[in-house]
Subunit: 279 residues, 2 copies
């Protein structure tokens, strides 16, 4: 920014909270998430799962609308309160009402009430019947921490499956991917090392566990929230079942140097003229 | 093609030969590769490693030029002979001389002498001092087999690291990636399931093992040639050391249906307007 010397942070204390929400119990879910967040040691950014306050298995769009909220609603207020109290950034997913539109969104809230919203771009399976797809391109977000500025990127759950998601964020400068999830497939945790490796970024995947049992609609989630490093190493991993809270200190130098050999910078060595981007 | 009914093959018998070449011993390397190829059961396409006839560790461009050849040279002639004799397609890597230019190339040769050449797009480390980078975009190649036509894609070794390589080939219709390699890092074999999963394609990675010991320049290779399926399953895997030959019958239906859920087609669900493709 002109006239200011933005100090870049060298490290970031980043963590996840893995929850087991009860469908529709907004108050109970936020209360329990608060207890879990309070267990976290000091952090610069803490990631909660996708739709962590409502649960996931809406039977139809009307039900999702009924549990949706605006940025002044209970979930974003909760994020603001935790961010302010813990003096760190907090990310979590919520059903976002915006006029007649409904998004599967994540809000990233800072200690001074700063707020950035990401609307899920790749909707999973029957989410297409419930939500509108995100309408703003992937973009890195600079966040100020006590230690300096860090560029983070937001993606939600199924976005991981498309290499363009993490790639877009990395090309825009993101050093750490914040990845609220409600994973039902068992492939993401094994693929995140590749996502991190190919972009030389960190990723914090906050997943839920347990299941939403809505009668005929019953969906189980895979837990195993994970923090992954630019060399593909798994720095933290939660169990498949139950709740968990973890915070890891990330050495951001590993995400800023895109070299994989002395001669290869993974972003500079891309050959866009050689690529197809459409069928 | 207008006026013709191109029958699409339902299956493809695809395999790899893992070699341990001796640097610079073109005649000996081709003779030994022939013995290994002869051990392969019937195949529609057989993949040999990158630079399998010369070895990898050229000390400088001049040495690479001395071992380079044109499409009439000994390596492509070898591929033609094996393809004709075994009545299948054969792929292998060679140093390609084209006027004053030098490429790290792979030739895909058919039983009737058809030939397609791919010039490596992403050069690894000191290959940049030896070769010119490939100048033609990734493109799928239709090959006719006894069972019908199959679309394959060629990429070489380090190309795997860039998700755009496999993505470009899949967007162009490739169902099976043919991937001659001389891998020195230990990450590719673990990442190929993600490459296959995100594009719903098969991949045949033919790697070499052993080392090129050129005095001060000494490079070891990781073997573990691998055939990977669209669901990320590893269908065949060679040992880290030594030679190997494997052929697997691939059920191409798995690569033609891009659905990962009833509601998600992984190529149709891409959102190009939401992606960044440059820094």
């Amino acid at each position: 920014v002109e006239g200011t010397a933005e100090r870049r942070a060298d490290t970031l204390r980043a963590g996840f909270v893995q929850t087991v929400p009860r469908f529709g119990d907004l108050e109970g879910n936020l209360r329990r998430a608060r207890e879990l967040a309070e267990r976290a040691p000091e952090f610069d950014v803490l990631v909660l799962p996708e739709l962590f306050s409502t649960g996931y298995a809406f039977v139809d769009r009307r039900e999702a609308e009924g549990l949706a909220e605006e940025l002044t609603g209970p979930t974003c207020s909760w994020l603001r309160a935790v961010a302010s109290e813990r003096r760190g950034w907090v990310v979590g997913g919520f059903a976002e009402r915006a006029g007649s539109r409904l998004f599967n969104s994540a809000a990233l809230v800072g200690p001074a009430g700063e707020i950035h919203v990401y609307r899920k771009i790749h909707l999973f399976d029957r989410e297409k019947d419930l939500f509108d797809a995100g309408d703003a391109p992937f973009a890195a977000i600079p966040i100020r921490t006590e230690r300096g500025t860090v560029l983070v990127g937001l993606m939600i759950c199924f976005d991981w499956f498309f290499p363009e998601s993490a790639r877009s964020l990395a090309l825009d400068g993101a050093e750490v991917l914040l990845h609220p999830s409600n994973l039902v497939l068992d492939k993401c945790q094994g693929a995140m090392p590749t996502r991190c490796l190919e972009n030389r970024v960190f990723a914090v995947t906050a997943n839920r566990s347990g299941e939403d049992d809505r009668g005929p609609l019953r969906i189980a989630f895979t837990g195993r929230s994970q923090i992954t490093a630019p060399d593909g190493a798994v720095l933290a991993s939660a169990p498949a079942e139950g709740e968990a809270t973890e915070v890891v200190e990330l050495d951001l130098a590993a995400a800023r140097d895109k070299h994989v050999t002395a001669g290869n910078d993974l972003l500079a060595d891309r050959r866009p003229d050689m690529y197809r981007t459409a069928r």
